[in-house]
Amino acid sequence: MKEKFLQKEQFPKFINELMNRYPVYAPIKKNGFHVFEKISSPKIIDLEYSNTKIPPKELFFPRAETLFSYAKSKEGIDLIQDSHPDETRVILGIRPCDVLSFLLLDKFFNSGKFQDPYYQKRRENSLIIGLLCADPQSTCFCTSTGGSPFSEAGMDISLTDLEDKYLVKSLNIKGDQLLEQIPWLGTASERDIFDATRRAKKALASIKTEIPIEKLSDKLEKLFNNDAFWSPFSQKCINCGSCSFLCPTCHCFDVVDEKTSTGGKRIRLWDTCQFTLFTQHGSGHNPRPTGKERIRQRIMHKFCYYPKTLNEIGCVGCGRCIRVCSVNQDIRSIFKAVQEVEGG
């Protein structure tokens, strides 16, 4: 019952049915790359893509988000919270690695003494239709970070591209309920499921990068004060924020106030540990004064601190940072160097 198929020529019909019920977010091609956007028509969806430039974390943790506004009045100050739309939305076509990044962000934003209401609300209101990854890129290493090109974790429904059709698999009750609303979907045959399994195996085999992650955290901890280890990497880095801004698991933010003549608002914005200002005290003292400390922080945070506090690697192996780096700083070289230091 849960495994259906969707002929590709019926894809627009499928999307239209979704759009009749929910706002739909899907990858579209813009300026030479893909981004997730709320779509106005099924035609603009482009699923022939490896992955989006901006990770879909943006849908839950936007680049800029108003935390609250305030208005000045004679009596003083009135705080106003912009209520987030309560309606459920569908996010379609997300890759497994990016969905795993949501699970990681869930652990971070929803755990601890305080929870993040903005992130939480958006997560609750989203239905995730994932697109399994038949053709991973050479920079992908999701299998090393606990994922896989056919991982369905975190999805409500998964889509597998079978050339002329999609295998549509519901993975939980939310998925079931959604598919019940589209009764005309055909039930998948044994053959469809067999094809999907074949593709999964092929995809898995095509990922060549293997990072021995066990003990990575301990090894990095020992390397913390080893300047000779970090300097070749910090030497190359120009400390721009592109790797962390475009990382699906980076979640640091800055908070700024914006003033208008009648009031203002408090906004949070993506921030990155690569910037000087990130840690600089009001006195001018900077605990991470140079690029070396900052690049070390990024690596340590993902591969040492994350495992220690949340018992997970803070990386989903999407390879975006490798592709986006203008000086070709390759995170895989850092892993390799960690191994070599220990081996030698």
């Binding site: 100050i77 921030d271 400390e293």
Partner: protein, 286 residues
């Protein structure tokens, strides 16, 4: 769709509670230190603001932003909060320029605070330098209000010059009190100064508080801390009996924004109070 609703008392940790400045005390001659007395606009917010000495709050100056400030009042002082602010950045400058009656925002209390329960039954040595004495004032006040729970109380408080010593009224009271042994010192005295002249580490050595069943609690500029720790070690304080409060750049105060992280710890939620023992194993990124 983008309906705007007035805030209710929903617990959104990013939304400040409104408060009014009811009193401003100028703390030093050069006038870059002021203590603000704040009162929540809605009295019930005091109930929800359940704090302990050593915790901090994020003060909002609407239109400019927030800054984390240690709470200088003690929970035993009811009906108001005290914050001593040095004029450094944008928000603190605007606070300094504000008048009584200005509405500001408070989020908090945040951080772990001084581990009071752990301190019960011990002698307490409080060592402070400059305006970093604020949360130590809170602690001293709190201990004095619960005096019977503790053994000897030694306070060593130093500043650059007599004018830089904060909370002069409290100091005068403590000086007379038999409950507490207070030593104040300055780096350079003036013609009215009759008390000690000397740096905090040297004075600590001189006062030589006993380390038997005692905790040392240190707060001050980095250079003072650097030279005071060896003195305490010499006096026999174990590293887990030395407590320090850290400061790092901070934005959210609730362990989400990432700015104040030191290794896997966040100063805002795991700190700001750490033992010297903990710090030994943490990166020196503070």
């Amino acid at each position: 769709m983008e309906q705007k609703t007035l805030l209710r008392k929903k617990s959104n940790p990013y939304i400040p509670k409104l408060a009014t400045i009811t009193e401003i005390t100028r703390e030093n001659d050069i006038n870059d230190l002021k203590t603000f007395k704040l009162v929540f606009n809605e009295k019930e917010h005091f109930k929800n603001f359940d704090y302990m000495p050593g915790q901090f709050a994020e003060l909002s100056f609407f239109g400019a932003g927030e800054c984390p400030i240690g709470i200088a009042s003690s929970p035993t002082e009811e009906g108001y909060l005290l914050f001593t602010v040095k004029r450094v950045g944008t928000v603190s400058t605007l606070l300094h320029e504000s008048k009584v009656g200005t509405t500001i925002g408070i989020r908090g209390p945040f951080g772990n605070g001084w581990p009071i329960e752990q301190l019960i039954g011990y002698s307490i040595v409080i060592i402070g330098g400059g305006f970093a004495f604020s949360t130590l004032r809170s602690l001293t006040k709190y201990i004095l209000a619960n005096r019977k729970l503790f053994k000897a109380i030694v306070v060593i408080y130093g500043a650059r010059n007599p004018s830089e010593l904060c909370y002069k009224q409290d100091l005068a009271e403590w000086e007379k009190s038999p409950e507490i042994h207070l030593t104040t010192t300055v780096d350079a005295g003036d013609k009215n100064w009759t008390k000690k002249v000397g740096f905090v580490p040297a004075v600590t050595k001189e006062v030589a508080p006993t380390s038997k069943d005692a905790y040392a609690i240190v707060c001050g500029p980095p250079v003072m801390i650097k030279f005071t720790i060896p003195v305490l070690t010499e006096l026999g304080f174990a590293n887990d009996k030395i407590l320090l409060s850290l400061e790092n750049r901070m934005k959210c105060g609730i362990g989400k924004c990432g700015h104040c992280s030191i290794g896997e710890k966040y100063v805002c939620t795991d700190g700001p109070v750490f033992t010297q023992e903990q710090l030994r194993f943490m990166p020196k990124e503070y």
